[in-house]
């Protein structure tokens, strides 16, 4: 069936480095994607979104890239900080369903 999923379950980076978290989707009709961050014991928190008519969108320290050809999106976090440590989910908004998530750990 259609699904939204993550390539890697964990990612460990050094503080100050850039992080890249990947997500694959299978529903070619998907036209809106969101990245959420979930810190331990908290609910998901919106980070950034992108529509399918775009291939890149930038926020504060974050960039989302969308490649519709291979149905892949990524979240890039610049100058990763300890506060960025969390689980990151991509979601396809058409049915608000989440992939399994990638746990990002930032080492000081």
């Amino acid at each position: 069936g259609e699904s939204v999923g993550l390539h890697l379950p964990t990612l460990s980076v050094q503080e100050g480095d850039n992080s890249i978290i990947n997500c694959a989707y299978s529903n070619s009709a998907s036209d809106y994607f969101i990245w959420y961050k979930q810190e331990s014991g908290k609910g998901p928190q919106f980070i950034i979104d992108i529509r399918s008519n775009m291939d890149k969108r930038q926020g504060q320290r974050v960039t989302v890239l969308l490649n519709k050809t291979v149905k892949h999106l990524s979240l890039q976090i610049a100058a990763t900080q300890p506060g960025d440590s969390a689980v990151y989910f991509c979601a396809e908004n058409r049915d608000m369903r989440f992939g399994a998530g990638t746990r990002l750990t930032v080492k000081p």
Binding site: I34, N93, R94, D95, M96, A100
Partner: protein, 115 residues
């Protein structure tokens, strides 16, 4: 900043009992959602609600579950005859628009423990 609030933060119940989880969505939002997250696992969609009726539900949302908007501010999830496997974090969310084109704001969750 407006936020989604959920009560209680932690609910312990005996197997077979009914529980009601409560949520107050953001006031101008029209779409409401429930999700659950079993410890260590992914967030799973349960149901979406709009215009006083369910707009979509997952295979998890069986007859054991029901949702209600009893007044203009609350949105509840009722679980009848709870089972041990219902133990999870339950998150409520709301959004201005449904499905496409808007982010959803999540509450802090209710941790349900069935013993």
């Amino acid at each position: 900043e407006p936020e989604v609030t959920q009560t209680p933060s932690h609910q312990v119940t005996q197997m077979g009992q009914e529980v009601i989880l409560r949520c107050v969505p953001i006031s101008n939002h029209l779409y409401f959602y429930w999700y659950r997250q079993i410890l260590g696992q992914k967030v799973e969609f349960l149901v979406s609600f709009y215009n006083n009726e369910i707009s979509e539900k997952s295979e998890i949302f069986d007859d054991q579950f029901s949702v209600e908007r009893p007044d203009g501010s609350n949105f509840t999830l009722k679980i009848r005859s709870t089972k041990l496997e219902d133990s999870a974090m339950y998150f409520c969310a709301s959004s201005e628009e449904g499905r496409v084109g808007t982010e959803a704001f999540f509450g802090q969750g209710t941790r349900l423990t069935v013993v």
